[in-house]
Each structure stands twice: as C-alpha cells, then as structure tokens.
C-alpha cells in the first residue's frame, strides 16, 4: 500500500504471467511427452507440433520421434 502522504514516483510493475516454458521444464516435459497417446501416430505428432507452436517453438513432426526418448 502506498503511503497517502508520499508524493514521489511509484514504480508500477506488471508480470508477464506464469511461464509455459517452465511448465515444459525437463521434469514436466517428460510427463507431457509420455502422456501423448501413440506419439508415433501422425495425429499425435501434429498435436505436439501445435503444443510447441503455442509457445513459439517450431518443430518438425516428421523428425519428432526423438522427443519420446527422454
């Protein structure tokens, strides 16, 4: 709370939110990738492509098999 008698500047700070990339830290990434149904199916790969695209990471679905080797 700002002191009502204080007439100097106030630093307004706004957070960017919880990071999705942290959610995909090695620990969580392992859980995420392990739970994809049949990851080697075409649909599974493209759903993963959408998931990573959402956080700005571009992946090639055709070369995605290595993801499940973690």
């Amino acid at each position: 709370m700002v002191n009502p008698n204080y007439d100097g500047p106030v630093i307004v700070v706004r957070d960017a939110g919880y990071s999705k990339i942290e959610l995909l830290s090695p620990e969580y990434r392992k859980k995420v990738t392990q739970r994809v149904e049949n990851p080697n199916s075409i649909s599974g790969k493209y759903k993963l492509k959408e998931l990573f695209a959402e956080i700005g990471i571009i992946v090639n679905p055709e070369a995605m098999t290595y993801l499940y080797k973690y």
């Binding site: 500047p9 307004v12 706004r14 960017a16 990071s19 739970r35 998931l51």
Partner: protein
Amino acid sequence: MSTKNHIIKIVRTLHLDDLFKSMKECWNDPRGGFLIPVTVKLTDPEYERYRHLEINWEISPITKDDLPEEFSPQAVKTVDMFRRKTFDLPYECMILFDYETGNIISCNFSDDFEDKVESEIYPEFLKTMHIASIHNHPRQYCSPPSSKNFQMLGLEFEEFELISSQDELWILKSNEIIFDDETIAEIRKKSDEYFDVAMDDANNQEGYHVLDCQNRCYGDMLLNYINKFDNIELIRRYLDG
C-alpha cells in the same frame, strides 16, 4: 535517445540558437527586452515505438460488451488497438490510460525479455484522471494473472487492471478501497497455491491438453477466490484469436 539529445534536436530544428543568444543579451541588459515564454513538449520514445507497432487486423475486435460500463467508446478503441498491436509481440508492453477519454498516459516495454514490465508514475499528476492499465501476456506465458499481478490493489490512482492474452481478456476492478500489504500478500500466496493445484490436475490429462487444462483450471480457481472479496471484481472474457 536521451533527453539531452532530444533537446539538442529541438534546438536545431526550431533554430532556437538565435533565440537563446538574444535571451542572454536580454538577461545582461533587460531594458526594452521582450520575453517570450516557451513550452517544450518532449516526445516519449517508448510511446513513439508503441505508435509504430504493426497492427494485426486479422483478430476479432474488443467491443464495449467485453469491457466495464465505465469505459468510454474512446477507451474501448484504446484497448482494442492495444490488443491488435501486442497480439504478436513476444515480449511485454504496458500502457496506462484514462478510461474516460481513452488517452494514453504512459507506455513501457520489457526490452530484455524479462518476465515483467515497469513504469515510473507520478500519482500527483493523475489526480483528475481515471486510470486503468493494460498489459499483454505473450503467447509463451499463461493467460490468467499470476501471483505478481495484484499490485494495483494497493495503488490509489489505478482503478482497473486489464490483461490481454491470445484468447482471453482479464479485468481486475478495485476502485473503492486500497488493500493493505498483508491482504495482497495473502492473495498472492493463494494464487501460487492454486497454480500448483492446477498443475497437479493438468498432469493427469493427456499430454497435449496439459497447458490448456492448466490455464483453465487455475483461472477458474482464481475467479472463485478473488470474487469472494468485497470491492474486488475479477472478470474473464474469452476472445477469438
């Protein structure tokens, strides 16, 4: 560009060198002098940068129905343009604006890809204004407010805090009382707890549903919790991309 460079540029552009020389002569010998008061407006480089951000016309507009009834049509336009300008930004931007006139008061960017944006505000100059802020959560961040996003509850001059993300608009309203530090700390602590609970819940989902479930579960819990407080209102609006 530094303020000093701005002033030098203005002096050269307006050929004020001669004016300053004549003022010096006037000060040395004020008899018969003619004093011209000059007002200099310095352009805020960050606002200039905001003005020139590319506008995304592909996304759906924000209308008056998405915003509190206190927002004027000009303020609705300010919010709509903010979302269009920041929709594709990979970093944060924040503006403070008057929700009655729609005028932008300040503008700041988080240049170093930090997970926060800061602005130095002099509340003394905002006493006659009705202040709201809006900042964006880039696509690599979750939509709902995080535990660090409740500073406005302790600020007297700010009445609305808006958060614009890829598919949601969050509105935090608290324009009647100022909350003490302990209450704000409790809200932040609860937010972190709900986030952890939502994370556990999300991890029971199929892989590609984790992030979606995390966003939705945490947002639902936050809405239920915050709206139990008197004098605080948290609103979530779903938007089309």
